[in-house]
């Protein structure tokens, strides 16, 4: 085999294994394209184009499938909206390294989350909401928004009491663990008293999540005493509803106006039988 291993592709298009004794540059013979027919050139180019196209297609398909699944994982505090985040995260893991509780993990290949991007699962290790927010400070690219200075303003997700059939509070028991562990206590989760219609004499103390204050840290989901959590934290976009932009709430408008929107009560004639 000997010199067969020598590659001559970019030196001159000679058959493999033979090299010109001297370098000829732009001469009549032995130029870079000599020995290659137009058909050969086209075939080669087409082959490469197809190859690149296949790579692009695979990438696109992969991106699509990952997009669809990236749901239950939560992003670290200050993460930009998902599409911006995927366009600005360097996948360097500096946020994960900065996290003192090992909450933040980097996604492996083929997992539900885009490879190399940071995420956490609330049920495994929730966010402890450090006052200093070291993960955001560590981010070199701004994918975790450096404008987030107050951790209470973080919106990593939104807690939802997903299973009201198994939640102990709904069964009439005084559990309240999620309410007790919530770092934004009395604001993000409150207990609402309702009559227990099953017993007829007791009260239910139902945990209610308020999206205006919930940071999505996941401590409630972590703390839920059930085998499978009844309260769960989801990415906000998955669970938060949105009114049509033309909707106006009458009672709010009334308050803004300082009076009824309709000028005066309308009076209808009283119709009596035989009247």
């Amino acid at each position: 085999m000997g010199t067969e291993v020598v590659e001559t592709d970019s030196v001159a298009k000679e058959p493999r294994g033979r090299r010109p004794a001297t370098l000829t540059k732009g001469g009549k013979e032995g130029t870079a394209t000599a020995g290659m027919t137009r058909r050969g050139f086209l075939q080669k180019s087409a082959g490469q184009a197809v190859g690149l196209g296949v790579i692009g297609l695979l990438l696109w398909m992969h991106a699509r499938s990952s997009d669809a699944q990236a749901a239950v994982a939560l992003r670290p505090p200050g993460a930009l909206p998902e599409s911006s985040f995927l366009g600005s995260c360097l996948r360097c893991g500096l946020c994960a390294r900065a996290c003192p509780y090992d909450t933040i993990k980097l996604a492996d290949v083929g997992s539900a989350v885009a490879a190399g991007t940071p995420y956490f699962y609330a049920r495994e290790i929730p966010c402890e909401m450090c006052q200093e927010i070291p993960c955001v400070k560590a981010c070199p690219s701004g994918a975790l928004d450096p404008g987030l200075l107050d951790i209470a303003k973080a919106r990593m997700g939104l807690a939802v009491l997903a299973d009201q059939e198994n939640c102990l509070a709904f069964l009439g028991l005084r559990c309240e663990v999620c309410f007790q562990v919530c770092p934004v206590m009395q604001k993000a989760i409150t207990l609402e008293m309702r009559p227990n219609t099953r017993s007829g004499t007791h009260a239910l103390f139902l945990p209610v999540v308020h999206s205006a204050h919930c940071t999505g840290c996941g401590k409630c989901e972590r703390a839920c005493v059930l085998d499978q959590a009844a309260i769960r934290v989801f990415p906000r976009g998955m669970v938060k509803g949105e009114l049509g932009h033309h909707y106006r709430l009458g009672w709010e408008e009334k308050e803004k106006m300082g009076g009824p929107l309709v000028p005066e009560q309308m009076h209808f004639p009283v119709r009596k039988p035989g009247g």
Binding site: Q48, L59, R91, G93, L94, A115, G116
Partner: protein, 288 residues
């Protein structure tokens, strides 16, 4: 019938003379990896992050060129630390040669060098020898896909990033791609990944136009045409102009942008034709 270079160099220059740069290179590659792993293993955070972006000694940021370029086209200018990191890397490899990190830092080099060695061992000579410029097509595709989607699509499968992240963060399935590259280089295409496809290397090669550190074929008249340097070089097309271009008035400096400054040609040459040299902007030359 010889299929592997080296015996003559070993005879002429001794073991250290024939493997010096290879050994230094392996030390450098393993050192970088060790520095990254020292943090999680011992708590000594000398180097934090991974090759996509990192912080040296809690102060010097570094950002990979291709990552930075993708961010730029996908989402616009990132935060200042990433920009600073890009400038540090840009400056460093302008000094040391654009593709210097390919052979002195990148962990994939260990994989592809291994495949190359195994190829010679097993006598595999066939395979796809596509254009050495294919990588610029891949680079273009990577940037276009990022610009079009606004998302770093390439980073889902970037084997270089996946390999290094896999090693540093213990994401073992990410290392499957390293195995994939090994077999690709071994069975499908000689020097296929680093030499033809890798867009990261392609991005760094663009820095080589201003590189200060280069390999010179200083004593090219002593060349005996033994072909050892061609055999050992992962980018042999860069050797020709410097080694044999004298009659065309070409200088002895290897200026091909795809040269990774690995220095193996210096090692294997029994005649001591090659040497490393800094080419300063004022045209003066400092040989190493």
């Amino acid at each position: 019938m010889k299929n592997r270079p080296g015996p003559e160099a070993r005879q002429q220059k001794g073991w250290w003379g024939a493997y010096r740069w290879l050994v230094l290179r392996r030390v450098s590659q393993l050192l970088v990896l060790t520095l990254f792993l020292l943090g999680p293993w011992t708590g000594a955070w000398l180097l934090r992050g991974n090759l996509s972006s990192s912080v040296l000694l809690e102060s010097v940021p570094m950002t990979d060129l291709l990552l930075f370029a993708q961010l730029l086209v996908a989402h616009g200018l990132p935060a200042f630390q990433a920009v600073l990191g890009f400038m540090v890397v840009f400056g460093l490899y302008l000094l040391l040669g654009g593709r210097f990190p390919c052979s002195w830092v990148c962990p994939v080099n260990l994989v592809t060098d291994g495949a190359s060695w195994m190829r010679a061992r097993l006598g595999i000579t066939g395979g796809w020898r596509g254009s050495r410029y294919t990588r610029y097509g891949v680079l273009l595709l990577v940037l276009l896909s990022a610009a079009w989607s606004g998302v770093l699509l390439w980073e889902w499968i970037n084997p270089v990033a996946l390999t290094h992240r896999g090693l540093v963060f213990g994401l073992w399935t990410g290392l499957l791609v390293a195995a994939g590259i090994f077999f690709f280089d071994l069975l499908v295409s000689p020097h296929g990944w680093c030499g033809r496809l890798c867009p990261t290397g392609a991005a760094y090669s663009l820095l080589s136009y201003g590189a200060l550190l280069r390999v010179d074929a200083t004593r090219r008249e002593a060349c005996t045409d033994c072909m050892d340097c061609y055999l050992v070089c992962p980018e042999p097309q860069v050797i020709d102009p410097a080694l044999r271009g004298g009659s065309l008035g070409l200088g002895p400096t290897i200026v091909g942008v795809q040269c990774t400054n690995c220095g193996r040609c210096i090692d294997v040459c029994p005649e001591n034709v090659y040497e490393f040299a800094f080419h300063l902007p004022n045209k003066s030359r400092v040989a190493l």
